[in-house]
Structures are given as structure tokens and as C-alpha cells.
Symmetry: none
Subunit: 205 residues, 4 copies
């Protein structure tokens, strides 16, 4: 094997290990929360020794940071994909289904809350989270303005609408935890109704 290929292979194995740890951590945080999940638990779940995790992450904290960053990158990629769509409004309304699905997954919702809770006390996590959110919100504003050009003149209005759309999805995660038995179809209808009005309505005079 050439020197180059060796390096690549090493980098690849390295990346695989990191993912292995992140997956294990995701599962543990989800199940027990950030503080209650022990490194021993994570290491067992990742199938490697405790000490070895420290070859890949400086800290327990660094694990959650990497987790957040990875989710952020995922989200950014999705936003980029959506930007390409032809009929934006249709595309967005269609996305509602997907957004609902994602936020109404118990495990994902729990993780989201867990990460938020951690961010409440950890500046680094909060920063990553906010940066990621800023990115998503920028796209959302662009899309709102594109769909309803009448709002273009009032950045504040656009901002308000975008934030409330975001709040809708964030809120679904909380609903999922507090009231997991809601009727999915009915909520989807109501969600679309609300979003359509937020996107279409003329600015308040």
C-alpha cells in the first residue's frame, strides 16, 4: 500500500471511530441525559475502552459539541438542497410533513431537549447551537421573502414570520414529549394551515 493510501485509510478509520462514538453518545444522551450518561456507559455502548474515547474527543463536553455540530451540518445541507427547488411554496408545504416527522420522533425530540438543556449551562454548546440556528433562520427568511414578495419591504415582518414558523416546529418537539398521542394527521393539517397563513398573509398595516 502506498504512503498516501495508508494515510487516507487511517483518516477514514479515524472518522469511522468518531462516528461510532457519536452514535453511541447520541443513544446514551437520549436515554439518560447528558449528565447522567457516564463515559463508561458511552464507551461500552461504543464498544471500546473508556480511555480510548479520549483519543478522539478531548472531553465529554467535546462529544456533545461534535454532536451538535454534526446535526448543524446536516441541517445546512438540507437547506442548501431546498434552495434549488422550483415551486418554493409547494416545496415548503411539502416539507412540513417531513419536519413534523422529525420533530415528532420521541427519541429525537428528547435529544433535542437534552442538547438545549445542556446549552443552557454550556456556552460552547449554546454558541454552536445558535450559529446553526442562525443559518437555518437566514434561509427561512429568504424563503418567506421569496414566497411573499409583499413582505420584502419589511424585514421585521419577515423576521417575525420566519421565527414563528421555526417556533412551530420547535414546539412540535415539546408536544411530542408532553402529549405523544396527538393525532398526526390533524396536527399536520393545522400546521399547514398556520404556515400557509404565515407565508401568505399581507403585512399588518
Amino acid at each position: 500500500m502506498s504512503r498516501e493510501t495508508e494515510k487516507e485509510a487511517a483518516a477514514h478509520r479515524n472518522e469511522r471511530r468518531r462516528l461510532q462514538i457519536l452514535d453511541a453518545a447520541t443513544e446514551c444522551f437520549r436515554r439518560r441525559g447528558f449528565h447522567a450518561a457516564s463515559m463508561a456507559e458511552i464507551s461500552k455502548s461504543a464498544g471500546m475502552s473508556v480511555g480510548h474515547i479520549y483519543h478522539y474527543f478531548e472531553n465529554k463536553e467535546a462529544i456533545i459539541a461534535a454532536l451538535v455540530e454534526s446535526k448543524a451540518r446536516e441541517l445546512a445541507d438540507k437547506m442548501d438542497a431546498m434552495r434549488q427547488e422550483q415551486d418554493l411554496l409547494t416545496a415548503m408545504i411539502d416539507k412540513v410533513d417531513e419536519g413534523l416527522a422529525k420533530n415528532s420522533d420521541q427519541a429525537l425530540a428528547a435529544l433535542k431537549i437534552e442538547v438545549l438543556a445542556e446549552a443552557t449551562r454550556n456556552a460552547r454548546t449554546l454558541d454552536t447551537l445558535r450559529a446553526s440556528d442562525r443559518l437555518a433562520l437566514d434561509k427561512m427568511r429568504e424563503n418567506v421573502a421569496a414566497v411573499n414578495p409583499a413582505l420584502g419591504a419589511s424585514p421585521k415582518t419577515v423576521d417575525g414570520r420566519a421565527n414563528v414558523v421555526a417556533a412551530l416546529f420547535d414546539g412540535i418537539a415539546i408536544r411530542t414529549l408532553l402529549n405523544p398521542d396527538f393525532d398526526r394527521e390533524a396536527v399536520l393539517d393545522a400546521l399547514r394551515l398556520a404556515i400557509r397563513s404565515l407565508l401568505h398573509a399581507a403585512p399588518t398595516p
Copy 2:
């Protein structure tokens, strides 16, 4: 003093102590999260010894449970008050402002998330939280049906609408943490817009 009055006084002092602890705990959980807040910290903040707290609460866990129950009682009282209002729609739209204020308070939002996170791992907390939410949602459904009688025939639709209204406020709490600089007025407008559409719109055929 009679035996009776003594007992009452004792019960009263007892209750005062409990509140003192709950307030201190609220502050500590808010600032550091449930797991990171130590009993020592809470006791100091409450102005009494660690050991003494155990006269009033069996557990650290029991503190958070009591906290959640107390918040739940507060909420129930508010719902009862609102039930009395004449013009329900106006009353609700007016309430939006208050709901926004409450959910956009950083500290309250942080506590809400913290409690949710804890509920994720603690069945007792989760049960209390869900019971409280069920209560609130029942009222919300009643109100939705009262405001828009056309929906009355479809309990599912009512349920969807009610859940999405709740999600809106829940979501604002998350928004507050992730994007604390949103424009309050613009968000209030958008919020009212969304809620009005959720309350008014005819059911989808």
C-alpha cells in the same frame, strides 16, 4: 395558644419552608440545571442546612416533582380564570401577549427546558408534566370549539388546532433560547396571525 392554633401555625410554617426551598431550587435548577445543582447549593440559597431540606423533601427528585406540581397548579388556576371571560376570542388573542412574555423570558424558558429534560428520564416528573398538560389542552380544546363552532363536529380537527396553538407557545420558549434577539413586536404579530387562522379557519374538507 390552643392546641388547634398551634397545629395550624405549624402547618403554615411548614408550608412556608417548603416554598422557600422550592424557590431556591427553582433558581438553582434554572442557573445550573437539575443534575449540576447540588443540594448544598440549594440549601445555601434557601438559607437552611442541607440536612434540614430532608425534613421537607424525601429526595432531590422529590423537589423537582413538587416544583412541577406547583407550576401545574398555577396553570390550572389561570385556565379556570380565563374560562370566565365573556368574549373568548378577544380574550385569547389578548392572552397571546402574556403567553409570549412568559415563554420569552430567558430564565423561565431555561427552566422549562430543564424540567422537560429531566422528565425525559424520570417517569414521575413526566407523569406530572403530562397530567398538567392534559388539563391545559382540555381547556384549549374547549375554547377552540367555543370560538369556532364549525369545528365542533370534528374532534380531531379541534385537537389538531389546539395542539398546534400549544406548540406555538412551547416553540417560543425554544426560540428564546436559540435566538434571543428576535423582534418582539414582529413575532407577536405573526403569532396572532397564526393563532387567528388556527381558531377561525374552516375545517379542511
Copy 3:
């Protein structure tokens, strides 16, 4: 018991506990060195639980700091006592015996070296140690100048002499570790010879 006496008793018990820990730590550091002595070992040796030590000392580091400070206070007290003596030269020459005894005690020598080694890497320990040394050296300079007024005009000469006297005793500690079988009487004679010459000799022109 009065409130006052209770407080005093508590403070006294507190102080006793601290000493208990310091004694245990002295013994452990002496035997195993600062880094190799574990908190578990110290706690066992002190007859209390690990956790309890942390009621009295913030850190393992704080223990060594307190140790150094306590030794420093002891030394300062001795210096103050010596200052009172009538015939300073005789007093000092007499003290040589005591100084030799102290520095030629294996265990004490080992502890001294151990503390110095720790100071090499720990700024706080080094500072305490240096402050204590400065104090002792000041006294030594005063004494040198008092015994040999002819040196008074040259502070540098006084400083040189004082430092070398100090070095003699410091060096004995190292001798004790490297060559524990030296002849005590012969070394005492040589020590006195050297010190007398350092105190008496006229300044080099």
C-alpha cells in the same frame, strides 16, 4: 453551653481536624512523594473518608500549600525567638547543632526535597516557599551584620554570607539523603568552622 463556647469548640475541632489531615499528609508525602501519595492513602492515614478531607482543603494542592505555610510559620517563630538572644554569635553557633539535627533527619530531609520538587512545578507552592525563605534570610542578614559590623557597609557582602550560611544547611539535607552515614560530630565541627569564618571574616577588599 453558650453560643459562644459552642462556636469556639467548633472552631477548635475544626482546627484539630486540619492538623490531623496535615499530619497524615506529611507522613504520606514523606513516604511516597507528593504525586504518588493518593488522597485515598492520606484519608486512610488521617482516619477519615476521602470526601471529608475536601471539607477542610479545597485541593490536594491546597494541602501541600498549607503544609508549607505551617512550616514557614514555625520557622518565623523560631527566628523571632533567636532575635532576643544576648550573645548572638554564641547563640548562632549553638544553633548549628540544632540546624544540623533538623536537616539531617532523613524523613524531614525527604519532605523538604519533596516540597521543593513540587514547588518546581507549582507556582503557589513556590511562592509560599520563597516568602518563607525571604523572611528567614532577612533575619540571617540582620544577624550577620550584627555579629560582624565591619560588613555592615557592604550589603552585598552580607547577602553573600547569609546565602552561603543558608546553603550550608540546605546542603546538609541533600547530604543526608545521599550519604546518610557521614560522621555527625566531624560534620558539626566543619559546619561550625565554615560558619564562623563566614560570620567573622573581614570583607574581601
Copy 4:
């Protein structure tokens, strides 16, 4: 290349590697102390992998032992060199300057203390150190006796003087750590004064 030369070259490379490691270790021990210096740190500083160090040294402990042995050999070589000098007294007094320089180098002083501290807990290191010291002291005794034949009759007196001379230099190392700002010239003068008196003075009756 012949089989023989290959072997020699291998042995040579081997020796070079060992020195490389010893130099790196010297630097690390100096900076962080024996226990705090990690093998990872040493390996990095030596420019080779951790595992590779274990080809050359059985142990971390073996490294410090080799270090001490190497310093001991160095010292022995120097003593041999001095033995050749014509005017011994002058030669020794001249050496004082060099001895002061060596012992007043912060880094060297720190290492000396570090090694002593380790010797306190490690029999092998202590043995090596003592053997090396015995060698040096033997020379010193010879020199003292040669310079001052009147002492020749009393081995104990010679021993006392030699030990105190050694203590002077050892002590300077400690002075250097505790009071690094001493006046070099003044200390040199005082040092010479003390040593001259130790070498010249008649035995106490």
C-alpha cells in the same frame, strides 16, 4: 558493508537513539517533574513514537535510572580530570566558580531536586545516586587530605570537611530555587571564603 561494521553501525545508531530519549526526558522531567512528565510527552519531545521508546527502555523508571547513571559517569570523568592538576588548592578554588555556575542554573537545579525526590521513593535510583556520590566524595577526601596534610591523621575530620564542601554546592542548588536573585559575585566570594577555611584550617583539638 561487512557484517562487523553493520553491527557497529547498529550499536551506534542504538546509542544515538538512547541519548535522544535521555535528552528529551531530561527536558521533560525538568519542566514537569518525574511523575507529571508523561511518556507521550517524552516521546513527542524525542521525535519518536511512544511504543518505540520501549525498544530502548524497559520502563519509565529505567529512563530516570539511565539518566542518573549518565550524569554519574560525567561527574566521574570530571573528577578524573581534576586529579591530574598540579596546584590542587588553586585548581579547587578555581573550580568553585564552575561549581557555582552549574548548581545555580535553575533548570539543572530543578532536575537535581527532581531526581533526588524520585530517589526518595525509588531504591534503584537512590543506589545509583549514592554510588555516584560516594565516588565524588572519595575524590574530595583525597583532595582535602592532599591540600592540608595536617588533617591526614584524622580521617573523620577529613570526612567532615569533605561533606561540608559537598553540602555547600548541594545547598547552592536549593538557594537557586528559593532565592534565584542572590548576588552571584558576593556568593562566590563567600563560597570561596568558606571553602578555603574548610580546606586550610587546622583540626580542632
